[in-house]
């Protein structure tokens, strides 16, 4: 980061820009007095107030950057401990996460993704012989005498349906993971200084207020609200442990050698599949119910966190000079 090492502190840049705005305002007041322009005079007086607010916002931003992280860490740790969410508490206790809500949220998401991958693997392994036998065909002089599709097609369709849903769930979790990572590396380092600089000038004041609110919202509010929602809601820790410890190893052990390229192996697999029919029904039913919890974790929780964050951004940006409420609905349509 060349320019950040070259200049000692972003606060100095923002303060200098605010001072520049102050001097321009003074010059404009001189012009207003010279031309005796009352409207310009009134506008300049309002600008003095805006310049003072700019300095206040810079001070507030420095305070947020300096102490906001500690407050966020303490808040997250206390509430997670009180909730009894074991996977979350494990991530908080993990020293690699430094008590940071963003890292904790990311670590928790990776736990979910790994769990979804385990379930995907288990279903994939169980589907392997089932799909093979559903597509097998025996011909006699061009006439298909036997096919497995009518017997096993239902199972195969169910497995495909479950795995397709898991793909989208894992994808949503990954999107959240990357949003958190993007926020961690860019919001306070890039967007906040840009927002403060833009806010100093009347032409770009609206954009600056919006970017500042956006930066603070995604740097603090989004990770904290996500972790707090996770802490308070039911979690999939017990199910994930069961899948990782029992379901997946059993599946891997019973179908670890998928050699179906000769009739002997095929017949052996056929009889194994037949003997496991009852047990497989139970496992599939368990996995089917498990996926419902992941829908909650992947879609509902981040949606609530985003609503809280956007509400914060909307209110805060109005305080800082933007008018997001006026354009918000239309903008969302375009996007």
């Amino acid at each position: 980061m060349a320019w950040i090492t070259w200049l000692p502190d972003w606060t100095i840049i923002c303060t200098m820009v605010a001072l520049m705005s102050f001097f321009i305002t003074v010059l404009l007041q001189m012009v207003a007095k010279a031309f005796n322009l009352q409207s310009l005079n009134m506008w300049v007086r309002a600008e003095y107030a805006q310049v003072a607010v700019s300095f206040l916002i810079i001070f507030f931003a420095v305070a947020m950057v300096t102490s906001g992280k500690d407050v966020a860490n303490a808040l997250t740790a206390n509430l997670a401990t009180a909730s009894g969410n074991i996977p979350l508490n494990n991530e908080i206790a993990n020293t690699n996460n430094l008590g940071n809500p963003t890292r904790i949220g990311q670590a928790y998401l990776l736990t979910l993704i790994r769990c979804e991958a385990d379930i995907y693997s288990a279903i994939f392994i169980y589907n392997f012989p089932a799909e093979f036998f559903s597509k097998i065909g025996l011909d006699a002089l061009g006439v298909e005498t036997m096919g497995g599709g009518y017997a096993l097609g239902g199972f195969v369709s169910l497995f495909h349906y479950l795995n397709n849903n898991l793909v989208y769930l894992a994808l949503f979790n990954y999107v959240q993971y990357f949003v958190l990572q993007f926020s961690q590396y860019t919001m306070l380092q890039v967007f906040l200084p840009i927002g403060l600089i833009l806010r100093a000038f009347p032409v770009t004041r609206g954009a600056g207020g919006l970017v500042t609110a956006f930066a603070i919202g995604f740097a603090f509010v989004f990770p904290i609200s996500y972790v707090l929602i996770v802490a308070m809601m039911p979690n999939a820790g017990a199910i994930c442990s069961q899948v990782h410890v029992s379901v997946l190893p059993e599946a891997a052990a019973s179908h670890s050698d998928p050699c179906l390229n000769n009739e002997g192996a095929q017949m052996a697999k056929y009889y194994q599949l037949k003997s496991e029919a009852g047990r497989m029904n139970g496992i599939v039913s368990f996995l089917q119910q498990t996926i419902n919890i992941f829908f909650l974790q992947s879609m509902f929780y981040p949606l609530v966190a985003l609503i809280i964050t956007f509400t914060f951004i909307r209110q805060t940006s109005s305080l800082m000079g933007a008018d997001l409420a006026e354009i918000g609905r239309g903008l969302m349509k375009i996007i």
């Binding site: 060349a2 322009l37 991958a117 793909v167 032409v203 239309g330 375009i334």
Partner: protein, 363 residues
């Protein structure tokens, strides 16, 4: 390389600054090649008229008219200031060296990341944006090749059919049929990637269009119309729009480049290393079962069991496309929101505020 550097810094900007006819294919500005002369003439006429009006108001001792005339004279002065500001900015935008943004001290870029320029030229924002788009396009082609490479292997494995029908009696099997369900993940990744790539191309074309539109008719029209009181608001709106789009949009793209290749550069570099291995392999001849399985193992690294292969393979597909999605979709959406706010502020400052909410309702 996009045409933007050529348009913005070679022909049009220099011709604009020198008040000559620009870009032969466009055939000059809408107002003709002497738009600056026309604008100065309009300013002079407006000033003379206001001066006469001021003298009349003083003679008649009409305080309201005096106040109004002073305000209008200030507006003419403001128009001149805007003209000088924009002209100076256009003339200097290609000379402003932004190489100080280059992360020389980064571990990943010890020699700097920006392409060295020929002596006498500067690393201006258009050079940075051109490099950024080239890099993203190249990354896009690699990602597409990677996805096609994986899809080729999986499709081949899933379509393997073993037939045995001596004397017309036998069976047919697809032992690896189940590998086909991994294609659903690939199709999801592909649709996300295509959206990202199209958004990138749109950004590139937008910059080309803005360089032409703002310099050739938005700004000239804006200045000319702002010289006269009845059309001052509309002219100010055009000026605000041209300043917001021509100046701030490239600046936002420069910060996109900084974010992608300085702040999250290690993440982007990791994905580039991952997909470099797939470059050129789509049309390779290793189509036998052994070759395909070996390539599958090569993609996923040291896999100890079939279940690990599936789990890790599912996760590996997602990351490169996600990183590309950040650069090609997420950042432009943020740019768009910020740009709309800047356009509202600039148009409100110089004339009539742009009514974004009603515009978006129309859309």
């Amino acid at each position: 390389m996009t045409d933007m550097a050529a348009i913005a810094c070679n022909a049009t900007v220099k011709a604009f600054a020198a008040n000559q006819s620009v870009t032969p294919t466009v055939g000059g500005t809408v107002l003709g090649s002497e738009w600056l002369l026309l604008s100065v003439l309009a300013l002079v006429v407006s000033t003379l008229a206001l001066s006469l009006l001021y003298m009349l108001a003083s003679f008649l001792r009409n305080t309201a008219l005096i106040t109004w005339t002073k305000f209008e004279l200030f507006q003419v002065f403001g128009t001149v200031a805007i003209l000088v500001f924009f002209g100076t900015t256009i003339a200097g935008v290609c000379a402003f060296d932004m190489s100080w943004l280059d992360p020389h001290d980064d571990v990943l870029h010890p020699n700097g990341r920006y392409t060295p320029v020929t002596p006498g030229e500067t690393t201006n924002m258009y050079t940075i944006i051109d490099n950024y788009f080239d890099k993203l396009q190249e990354l896009g082609y690699l990602i597409f090749g990677y996805i096609m490479y994986i899809s080729k292997i999986l499709t081949f494995l899933s379509r393997l059919t073993m037939l045995s029908s001596p004397l017309g009696v036998g069976s047919n099997e697809n032992p690896l049929e189940t590998m086909g369900q991994l294609n659903s993940l690939i199709f999801v990744m592909l649709s996300g990637f295509i959206t990202s790539f199209l958004m990138l191309q749109l950004q590139m074309r937008m910059l080309d269009y803005l360089a032409l539109a703002c310099l050739n008719y938005l700004f000239p029209f804006g200045i000319f119309l702002r010289c006269f009181e009845p059309t001052r608001s509309f002219g100010g709106t055009l000026l605000g729009l041209s300043i917001a789009l021509f100046l701030f949009y490239p600046i936002l793209m420069v910060f996109n480049d900084y974010i992608m290749y300085s702040q999250i550069s290690d993440l982007a570099a990791e994905q580039e290393r991952l997909i470099q291995g797939a470059d050129g392999k789509v049309v390779s001849e290793s189509t036998g079962i052994g070759g395909s399985v070996a390539e599958t193992g090569g993609i996923f690294g040291n896999i100890n069991s079939f279940s690990e292969l599936v789990a890790d393979g599912v996760l590996l597909f997602v990351k490169p496309v996600m990183v590309y999605f950040i650069g090609a979709v997420v950042l432009p959406v943020i740019n768009f929101i910020v740009l709309v706010e800047i356009a509202r502020g600039a148009t409100a400052f110089m004339g009539d505020e742009l009514d974004v909410s009603n515009l978006t309702r129309l859309i």
